[in-house]
């Protein structure tokens, strides 16, 4: 090869083909799918919570894409039906994830709707799941004097015995933690969807 123009052109054509297949065609095919009727857009606080989820990299251990029964027992684990493109129309950035160091969270709002459980679990996962390797997130909470929290009208966490702070102290969630839990509670895709159209 003696011609640098051919080299650059050939290289660009090869990448162009790949871009057409993996970026442009999916754009044409699935970027304007309609949202399922029962999928609600995120509220402002849920969006703030989603930003906390992104900022702290929850996606690196939790996927949001249950697979089909034929491929994996995701449904039997209570993670829900296989997801379809319509489920993600309000998702930006997408949070499909590539690891399941922890369980899939696509339907965590349906599986574990309790706000108390979610908050306490974020504060110290091992208080609820003994063998868990999830990090604890003390920086999303403040430890306060019990009386002070009561005066400010804040609701302290009810932690399992052995995990509460010292006598007279309580753990109070920050607004970030409350938003994050609102987002987790909103992760509920249990509504039925029509089976996906046969793939061409």
């Amino acid at each position: 090869m003696e011609n640098e123009t051919k080299l650059a052109a050939g290289a660009m054509v090869a990448l162009g083909v790949a871009t057409a297949a993996l970026v442009v065609l999916p754009y044409l095919q699935v970027s304007d799918v309609p949202a399922p009727a029962k999928l609600r857009p995120y509220t402002a606080s849920q969006l703030r919570g989603r930003a906390v989820y992104v900022a702290n990299g929850c996606v690196y251990c939790h996927s949001q894409q249950p697979r089909d029964r034929a491929l994996a027992p995701d449904a039997q684990r209570g993670w829900g039906r296989a997801s379809v493109p319509g489920d993600y129309v309000y998702d930006k950035p997408h949070l499909l994830g590539s690891m399941r160091t922890g369980p899939d969270l696509f339907n965590i709002g349906a599986r574990q709707p309790s706000k108390e459980w979610q908050l306490g679990h974020l504060y110290q996962p091992r208080a609820y799941v003994k063998e868990s390797i999830m990090p604890s997130y003390p920086f999303l909470f403040t430890v306060k004097d019990a009386g002070e929290a009561q005066r400010e009208g804040e609701q302290p966490l009810a932690l399992p015995p052995g995990f509460a702070p010292a006598e007279g102290q309580v753990v109070v969630p920050t607004p970030e933690a409350l938003d994050l839990v609102k987002y987790l509670q909103a992760l509920d895709h249990t509504y039925p969807v029509l089976p996906a159209a046969p793939q061409p």
Binding site: M1, E2, E4, L7, G10, A11, A14, L15, V17, A18, T19, A21, L22, V23, L25, P26, Y27, V30, S31, V33, V54, A55, N56, G57, Y60, C61, Q65, R67, L71, A72, P73, Q76, P85, D87, Y88, V89, Y90, D91, K92, P93, H94, L95, L96, G97, M99, R100, T101, P103, P125, R126, V129, E131, S132, I133, P135, Y137, P138, F139, Q199, P200
Partner: protein, 550 residues
């Protein structure tokens, strides 16, 4: 039309195209071997002479004696002079990129080891947000991918191209500015991620506003590179030039398309994410490293690559197939079925360029493998080349649905990614830096034993890391597929393997401390001075020639 008929038609058209390409290549004489083209990396009369600047003169002699009984009488003086001038024109930018690369390597591996330990000690360092696993892990990824590998790759490109094109680097000051911009972007990106400002997509976490720095910096490197290419003094473009120039253009385009703000959403964004995620490995790290091996390995052993045309076949098949493999990260996901199938097929097609590369390198090394005992640089290159074969074949297998069902979502994939990015790419880049730096600084590596220490620490580290995560990830995947077992079973069983991973990570970090320390010692002029005058000094090329092969 149904999908079966469509795919049959596509297969028919493809084979027709393949047939035409074959006839065309016959007419062009591409199947006739071309030893002259393969020899352009040598000066006239230099074939047969070994070259490893990381060795002292005495060691060079034993390397030469081990290679051939009778070394060639002498290389063409004009060619050597051109090479010295080429090296001098790129010395400052190359040194800058290598120094940045070393800095990010050290920072990135500390962050990596921290996140590894956090996976089996989840209550360690949890009080600060920036130290939480999800952020420090991403700091690690950004520091090693963009900071270490990309900087080292850019340095390699700027050093190799003037040599291969027998001309001086044009616009060197622009590359310095480009490097400053890129590293500003990397530093700002890492700071942003640590603070919790992230675009949220794997490999693309650097916020797009900061990404503009990277794009501007890359543009300022591409322009001098293309100018140098146009002003070359060789007729033939050696295959490494293809890999390096194409890789540089590819990564820039990839980054721009993937980062376009406000375009990508939902599932389509996920396909774009993995199109980028796999291509940054396949069309940036891989071509740069393969291009480096195609230069350094023949150069060290003093023998041109066995089959030059095979290397060209490898280039074009890599260019075509690798770009389309990203969809295999979404097997079983909510994406169009045709896309996943296409990616699985192209993942398997990747066997072609990998086998072409391996046959070629095997043939070139035939009868000279024992030289790795003398040359540490060759050892790094051979290790990298072998791991390229292993990790690519492993990657092709992982794309199969049956295997992917087990390995997807597990630590197995993490092991594979490190085998590629560390065992292959980083090892090649280490070797390249050991070769380049004595020429860049005109100073020998002060403590050559440290190179061997570095090699064995790194090789043992990645071996432990890979074996632990491969076994642990596989068992984890099996546990997750078994509906009778609780999900927590898949977590608890991985813990010993995650601990072993940290052991491997410790060895790798130790090797980097040795490497960067050695680099600093050299840059600060420790150790005995053995070759020529100082860098950036006033040395005349005539004086430097002594250092080159005489």
């Amino acid at each position: 039309m149904d999908s079966a008929a469509l795919s049959l038609l596509a297969a028919f058209l493809l084979s027709l195209l393949g047939l035409f390409a074959f006839i065309w290549s016959l007419r062009q004489g591409l199947l006739v071997e071309n030893p002259a083209a393969a020899s352009v990396i040598f000066a006239r009369g230099e074939v047969g002479r070994v070259d490893d600047p990381a060795l002292h003169a005495a060691q060079q002699h034993s390397l030469q004696a081990a290679a051939t009984a009778a070394p060639p009488p002498g290389a063409d003086a004009a060619d050597l002079r051109a090479r010295v001038l080429a090296d001098r024109s790129s010395a400052l930018p190359v040194f800058m990129f290598a120094a940045f690369a070393c800095f990010w390597l050290l920072l990135g591996s500390v962050a990596g080891l921290t996140s590894s330990i956090k996976l089996h000690a989840p209550d360690w360092l949890v009080q600060q947000g920036w130290l939480t696993f999800g952020r420090i892990r991403t700091v690690h990824l950004t520091a090693v991918l963009y900071g270490w590998i990309t900087n080292a790759a850019l340095g390699l490109i700027l050093w190799l191209l003037p040599r291969l094109l027998r001309t001086e680097l044009r616009g060197a000051p622009w590359t310095l500015l480009g490097g400053a911009l890129i590293n500003t972007g990397i530093a700002a990106g890492i700071g942003a991620i640590a603070m919790g400002w992230s675009d949220g997509m794997e490999y693309l976490e650097i916020p797009w506003q900061i990404g503009l720095f990277l794009v501007a910096g890359l543009a300022m490197i591409i322009l001098p590179v293309l100018t140098t290419l146009v002003n070359r003094r060789t007729e033939h473009l050696y295959v490494s030039v293809w890999y390096l120039v194409a890789g540089l253009l590819w990564v820039t385009l990839l980054f721009v398309v993937a980062k376009l703000p406000g375009v990508h959403t939902g599932v389509q964004q996920a396909t774009t994410n993995w199109w980028y995620g796999h291509n940054v490995l396949g069309l940036w790290f891989t071509p740069v490293s393969v291009g480096a091996i195609y230069y350094f390995l023949p150069k060290i052993i003093g023998r041109p690559v066995r089959s030059y045309n095979l290397s060209l076949l490898g280039f074009w098949t890599l260019a075509f197939f690798y770009g389309q493999v990203g969809g295999h990260h979404l097997i079983g996901g909510p994406v169009p079925g045709w896309l996943v199938t296409l990616s699985i097929v192209q993942s398997l097609m990747m066997v072609i360029p990998v086998i072409a590369f391996t046959i070629n390198m095997g043939g070139t090394l035939q009868g000279r493998m024992h030289l790795a005992r003398w040359s540490p640089t060759l050892r790094f290159m051979m290790f990298g080349g072998l791991v390229y074969l292993a990790s690519s074949l492993q990657g092709s297998m992982e794309a199969l649905r049956s295997v992917n069902a087990i390995t997807h979502f597990t630590h197995y994939t993490v092991g594979h990614a490190h085998l590629g990015a560390y065992g292959f790419v980083s090892m090649v880049l280490f070797g390249a830096i050991y070769f380049m730096l004595p020429r860049v600084l005109n100073w020998e590596w002060p403590y050559p034993r440290l190179i061997t220490v570095h090699f064995w620490l790194a090789a043992t580290g990645i071996a432990i890391y890979f074996v632990a995560l491969t076994i642990g990830g596989w068992l984890q995947g099996l546990a997750m597929l078994d509906p009778a077992r609780d999900f927590m079973a898949s977590v608890t069983l991985t813990r010993p393997y995650l601990e072993w991973r940290s052991v491997g990570g410790c060895l790798m970090l130790a090797s980097h401390v040795v490497f960067v320390g050695h680099f600093l010692a050299m840059a600060l002029r420790f150790g005995p001075m053995r070759t020529g005058a100082a860098l950036f000094g006033t040395a005349r090329p005539e004086d430097l020639e002594l250092a080159y092969g005489k």
